[in-house]
Amino acid sequence: MLLDYDRMGWLKVALLGFTALVAAFLLLPVIFIVLLSFGSSRWLAFPPPGWTLKWYQELFADPSWLEAALTSARIATMTALLAVVVGLLASFALVRGQFRGREILRGLLLTPMVLPVVVFAIAIYAFFLRLGLGGTTIGFIIAHTVLALPFAIIPIATALEGFDKSIEDAAIVCGASPLEAKLRITLPSIRIGIFSAAIFSFLASWDEVVVAIFMASPTLQTLPVKIWGSLRADLSPVIAAASSLLVGLTLALMIVTALLRRRFQT
């Protein structure tokens, strides 16, 4: 009974034990980094000789960290906004349109997710150097929107496929204009997809390292570029403090997502 949870006997114990080990492996670096950020050893000795908040003080004393975080937040917010709007329009056409080559266009729009980022990074870097967009906020937003678009299209198109179009048609038959029906009936129904699209495209930009390394200028650095630079210089515990704050942000995002999902579903 290999797929019957209650009748697997010793095999279940072994597999559950293994699953717990893998979960611990996945959790280990995240917990470790948070503990490390409170440890007093500059050389990252663990377990630390004592506990301290000085790495957080150092982090906040250096304005370049906050500046990088704000730059990242600005670029990621704009990216999420653009990717959701463009992705929403594209998803309607991809799910509902009936034209030749639909599958090919779908594949094309999702290619940025598959192509190794380093290839896109040097391509767009060269292109923007010529256009004079290298190291600009606009350049960052455009490049990140290209990368985020598949992450916006996938959840929205999935939600749209699960939505019964006859409800929208019913609204039109009852006198709503097609646009009105879409705005007041369809969009609220697929809000889980739109919401997931916003989160995923935000994260796609917020976490993006490779394009950012090429595009960054001394005056425009995103948070990953700042961390990358510090990592290459040394393994200072200040990075652990910054990382812990990012873990906190991830947890907050997960909780908000879970709460919203629960509310949407009831």
């Binding site: 980094i33 034209f99 996938i154 048609d169």
Partner: protein, 286 residues
């Protein structure tokens, strides 16, 4: 619905078909297709027209080592990831929902945590004086610190860590879709658990394993961040070499050619995956 209203609804359906694709196509066309094609052009024109960049890349032992190393790492990472992910996905597919949601929570937390944060944690954990080496030495298993970082071991650990969620999550879907009755039937017919696993569960989950494994392999081939931070200089991977050619050596011709080779290999494997599972499954169900 009467025929008449059906017709009027049908006419209403027409507008907004292709027009909605326009912004996305402009964005992808102008800022993805054009730059990538321009890069390809550069690989055969910089510094002079011809294929000398490709000849240099394919004829030199140093570059051959990088190509070999890239494939080796991707193959090792994929194998380990599949082996570790399968039992976990199996349990997740049949666990009580409350327990499963805890494990899913851990997976999502690890997946959503900043990539550099996770890599930084492994850099500290794996270093010579890191926790793992000290713990192993304290238990008396080793008396010299193991070289766990700046080599293949470090890259493999770090990459498997990052790839696990991408393998586990789709595999849970595949395993959930298998009808438990098939295994009950096998047991009734006298199959031992091992036989049932080898002849029923494994073959039925193979499409999911192949699709996930191929995805992990493709992602590993072009991965930049983790190999660059956890790997050593003597076993560089392709993505890092490309970045270095452009950023440090400013050799655009050679860098573009290497990038194009990576692109062709990736796209060929992606096409194989599409044939294996179809566009929808390959891209997560769109």
């Amino acid at each position: 619905m009467s025929v008449e209203t059906q017709q009027s609804v049908a006419t209403l359906r027409m507008p907004g078909g292709l027009g909605g694709l326009l912004p996305a196509l402009i964005l992808i066309g102008l800022f993805f297709v054009v730059p990538v094609l321009a890069l390809l052009l550069r690989s055969v024109t910089d510094p002079a027209p011809g294929f000398q960049n490709y000849a240099a890349l394919l004829g030199d032992g140093t570059y051959a080592r990088v190509f070999f190393n890239t494939f080796l790492v991707a193959a090792v990472v994929t194998s380990v990831t599949v082996l570790v992910a399968f039992p976990v996905a199996w349990m997740l597919a049949i666990m009580p929902p409350a327990l499963a949601s805890i494990v899913f929570g851990v997976i999502v937390l690890s997946m959503w945590t900043n990539l550099l944060t996770r890599t930084y944690a492994w850099m500290v954990l794996l270093q010579r004086t890191g926790v793992i080496n000290r713990a192993l030495m304290a238990t008396g298993l080793i008396d010299q610190p193991l070289p766990l970082i700046n080599n293949l071991t470090g890259v493999t650990i770090g990459m498997v860590y990052i790839m696990l969620p991408f393998m586990i999550l789709p595999l849970v879907g595949t395993l959930r879709a298998i009808d438990p009755m098939t295994l009950r039937a096998a047991a009734l017919c006298g199959a031992s658990p091992f036989q049932a696993f080898r002849r029923i569960l494994l073959p039925l989950s193979l499409p999911g394993v192949a699709a996930g494994g191929l995805m992990v392999f493709v992602m590993s081939l072009g991965y930049f961040v983790t190999p660059a931070l956890l790997g050593g200089t003597s076993n560089m991977m392709l993505a890092e070499m490309i970045a270095q050619m452009i950023q440090s050596l400013l050799n655009w011709g050679l860098g573009s050619a290497a990038a194009f080779i990576l692109l062709v290999v990736t796209m060929a494997l992606y096409a194989l995956q599409l044939r294996l599972v179809g566009v929808r499954r390959a891209t997560g169900g769109v």
